[in-house]
Amino acid sequence: MDRPLRLVAANPLDRLARTLEALLVVASQPLPVEELAEAAAEDAERVEMALGLLAERFQEGRSGIVLERVAGGWAFRASREAADACGRLFERPVERGLSQAAMETLAVVAYLGPCSRPEIARLRGVAADSVVAGLVERGLIAEAGREDGGAVRYRTTPLFERVFGLESLSVLPRLDDLGDAEDIRERLESLAEKRPA
């Protein structure tokens, strides 16, 4: 009784895969597995399996449509191979001309979580107003309530994760791994110790 069922099982999964394709092609942002499962009226496990099938079909080199895991969900995008063609037809208003100040501000907000303009200004050592307004305008950060002092706080948006191709904020490299700030400090401190008293 078990075997024939298994044999036909391939078919429903294929049907589910088609449903997921349909959902993903009309969605305007990455869809988490749970949302896909709910829309497809299926359980998450089977959705994961079907996504596995699709990820294989829609991959770089094989298809112009690529399925990627990004911003906490799944989304279609254009293959990198077609970037030139896309560049001729579409603008990239979100990330064009992001200044160093904008990048530092994004880094502060992405790493420290919701924070206000005064906090950003303190960390960067310069006023952050116009930079923050620019990032809000581009949709890379958004308001996230107010802090006690009354200042509006900001967080990064799913669009930020999407533009930077991040599965989630948790894949950002740990700050400690990035630089050698500690290293420089230690070097200087050890030098100071060597100094004759």
């Binding site: 092609v25 009309v26 969605a27 305007s28 989304a75 279609f76 995008r77 254009a78 990198r80 970037a83 896309c86 560049g87 579409f90 990239r92 979100v94 990330e95 001309g97 992001l98 200044s99 160093q100 990048m103 530092e104 994004l106 880094a107 502060v108 992405a110 005064p118 200004a121 303190r122 960390l123 960067r124 050592g125 310069v126 006023a127 002092g149 009354g150 200042a151 669009l159 999407r162 533009v163 930077f164 191709g165 991040l166 950002l172 490299p173 700050l175 400690d176 990035l178 630089g179 050698d180 700030a181 500690e182 290293d183 420089i184 400090r185 200087l188 401190e189 030098l191 100071a192 100094r195």
Partner: protein, 255 residues
């Protein structure tokens, strides 16, 4: 033989000794940064460079990083009003605090640099921003709301916020950006210029900062520098492959 930047001998009003020791003393708060003439350090370095037959660009790079660190420290040291009680800390704690702030800022810079690289790698990933062409329209429905929330929101908005010091907003880095912009626009018009002529008439500090800008441009590959002989004018030439649209400027990376 390279100029050993960290052993650069300084003879300033507030300090006499090698550059590295100065940084160490500053970190240990045994030297008041407010007293240190950073421009003097830059000038000492310039003189040291001038003694050499040719421009030692590696030394310039290292010097730039160290002096940038010092400027950051100095800038941050002026922030005492913001976090209040640095004066209440003992020297070791104060040094610790300054070092921590510098480290924080450096980490942010590193994180920003990582984001820049990432964006560069991901620039060939195109995706749709808006709704799909033939997608159904989304109807967002909202549950019933309590009008009291409106009153609460407006009341909160009209409450006096606790006093917050705005001291930190006063802080500005030295106008390296300003010279970067000035030199860039100069090079947009001319392929080369004479540094000494360009900074003639400026104060010593301005000249020092202008020189930092020059080093930064050189580091970014935008210009080439040459000097016929020690103390001869520094000639600046636009690099043939200069990218016209550089958005990342004045990034003090670690040596």
């Amino acid at each position: 033989m390279p100029v050993p930047v960290r052993e650069l001998e300084l003879d300033l009003e507030a300090f006499e000794g090698p550059f590295d020791l100065l940084l160490a003393l500053v970190l240990r708060d045994e030297l008041d940064l407010g007293e240190v003439d950073v421009a003097g350090i830059v000038l000492a370095f310039l003189e040291r460079l001038a003694e050499r037959e040719e421009l030692d660009l590696d030394a310039c790079g290292e010097f730039l990083v160290l002096v940038a660190a010092l400027l950051e420290l100095k800038a941050r040291a002026l922030l005492t009003g913001e976090d209040g009680d640095l004066e209440d800390l003992d020297p070791a704690q104060a040094a610790e605090e300054l070092a921590r702030r510098l480290a924080d800022y450096r980490r942010i810079k590193e994180a920003a640099a990582w984001l820049v690289d990432r964006l560069d790698e991901e620039s060939d990933r195109y995706f749709r921003l808006g709704p799909a062409p033939l997608a159904p329209r989304v109807e967002r429905r909202l549950a019933a709301q309590d009008p009291a929330e409106l009153a609460t929101a407006l009341r909160a908005l009209s409450a006096e916020p606790p006093a917050v010091s705005l001291a930190h907003l006063e802080l500005r880095f030295p106008p390296v950006e300003q010279f970067l912009g000035r030199f860039r626009s100069l090079l947009a018009r001319r392929t080369r210029f004479d540094f000494d002529t360009e900074v003639d008439g400026l104060t010593r500090v301005e000249q020092a900062v202008a020189f930092l800008a020059l080093l930064e441009l050189r580091k970014a590959g935008e210009i080439e520098l040459s000097q016929a002989s020690p103390f001869a004018p520094i000639r600046v030439r636009r690099n043939a492959e200069t990218q016209t649209e550089r958005t990342t400027t004045w990034t003090a990376r670690s040596a």
